[in-house]
């Protein structure tokens, strides 16, 4: 892994995955398993992914995010909320058709009017919108005051394999 990092936090029954910097993964299936294990052993009601501090993201990490989308849909009947404000990152997400498999938010602060384009999910549109706004609030509060809540996913992976 290079200058980037992948962290996670658990907050208000929400699983938060945060990627920072230049994210390049060389191993993926091990991370998949770690995330699945965390999701299995705790009770969550939604997944949030924060890409707002990403400079660039490689295809392997994007594959990991896609797995998280499938998992979230299966487990919670709704897609993860994914925040991206870097135009380069948003361009890549768009080219991969990720607007169909994530609740994408592109504004730094929660914006109820910006949520008219969300993909269809098992939960009602109203519930999805509410969860997305809530998820976005959580991201903001974690980023502003609670940075310590984040743990490095790679060290979680290492401790779980020993």
């Amino acid at each position: 892994m290079s200058d980037g990092k992948i962290q996670f936090a658990e907050y208000n029954e929400t699983f938060v995955l945060k990627c920072v910097g230049d994210v390049r993964l060389t191993f993926c299936s091990a991370l998949n398993e770690t995330i699945e294990k965390i999701l299995k052993t705790n009770s969550f009601k939604s997944i949030v992914i924060d890409l707002t501090e990403v400079i660039s993201i490689d295809s392997t990490t994007l594959g990991l995010l896609a797995k998280l989308s499938i998992l979230s849909k299966r487990k919670f009947g709704m897609l993860p909320t994914l925040a991206s404000t870097n135009p380069d990152v948003s361009r890549v997400l768009d080219s991969m058709g990720f607007n169909q498999v994530f609740n994408l938010v592109h504004t730094p602060a929660p914006c109820p009017e910006c949520l008219d384009d969300l993909p269809e999910q098992d939960q009602s549109e109203a519930v999805v919108k509410e969860r997305v706004l809530e998820a976005h609030q959580i991201l903001m509060s974690l980023n502003e005051s609670n940075r310590d809540a984040f743990r490095d996913l790679v060290s979680a992976l290492e401790s779980s394999t020993t």
């Binding site: 993926c28 392997t60 896609a66 080219s95 991969m96």
Partner: protein, 269 residues
């Protein structure tokens, strides 16, 4: 068979160094043999048929590459091509790229291929490839552009699976990205692919790239690098050699990422 692991007594430092050097040489030979094989199974370049010239180059980041391409004549006479980029790089991605090539050819030429004339579209190929790759659960996905050139009807048909950058069509002094998008293959069970089409100009070139090409452009951001591509192609008058030269692909090695490029052209002045 080479065996390098039957060491029973403890090694001295110089023995260990020798052992590592030997192992390194073996691995290097192995990688080079793989690289040669990958070069061998790519289609010939330049290749001309039905008035269309196909030219390509592939620059691996190391030895083996997950970037791949193929082009050939379909049983109904139309021309088929794709350029694909497997996530990650190195040996594992290279193995998946072989699987892609074989799966596509099996779908088109295999014993079970059931295509009435001209019923095959780039989208049906992508859908099939998606389902086949999902079976392997390989934690790798593939972005690609798949196209069919119909010189009888003078039409271009294409479909895009999560691929960046978009193909660039050059004609009459102008270069523009082709529209279209879709999800990569090998990720989602329910991905669907749409077919795009347009009449082919009398004189044109169509350039396809893997995303590694964006890393050799000098602009700072991904979106500005992407925007620079049509300008570069216009400056090269859409010609393969000019594009290669302007991108500096002729004498590059140890690239940050694999790079693949395919240009098809007709009647360029």
């Amino acid at each position: 068979m080479h065996s390098t692991s039957q060491q029973t007594s403890p090694m001295t430092a110089s023995e260990e160094l020798l052992f590592l050097q030997k192992q390194h040489t073996l691995l290097l030979e192995d990688q080079r043999a793989g690289q040669q094989l990958q070069q061998l199974i790519r289609p010939s370049t330049p290749w001309e048929t039905q008035g269309i010239t196909f030219e390509h180059c592939v620059v691996p980041a190391l030895y083996l590459t997950g970037d791949s391409l193929d082009y050939f004549v379909l049983p109904d006479g139309r021309l088929f091509l794709y350029l694909a980029d497997v996530s990650g790089h190195g040996t594992a991605s290279a193995l998946i790229s072989m699987l892609v090539k074989n799966t596509v050819r099996e779908f088109i030429f295999g014993a079970h291929a059931v295509h009435a004339d001209r019923s095959l579209t780039p989208a049906t190929v992508l859908s099939y490839l998606n389902q086949r790759l999902l079976i392997y659960n390989a934690d790798r996905h593939v972005t690609l552009i798949c196209a069919i050139v119909d010189t009888d009807q003078n039409m271009l048909h294409w479909s895009v699976a999560g691929h960046l950058p978009s193909p660039v069509l050059y004609s009459a002094g102008r270069a523009d990205f082709l529209r279209g998008k879709g999800q990569p293959v090998g990720l989602f069970e329910h991905s669907t692919y749409s077919c795009e089409q347009m009449p082919l100009p009398a004189a044109f070139s169509l350039s396809l790239f893997s995303d590694g090409v964006l890393e050799v452009l000098p602009e700072k951001y991904l979106i500005t690098r992407e925007a620079a591509l049509p300008k570069l192609i216009t400056a090269a008058h859409g010609e393969y050699a000019g594009i290669v030269e302007r991108l500096g692909l002729a004498n590059c090695s140890n690239m940050p990422d694999d790079i693949a490029m395919l240009v098809l052209s007709r009647n360029l002045a």
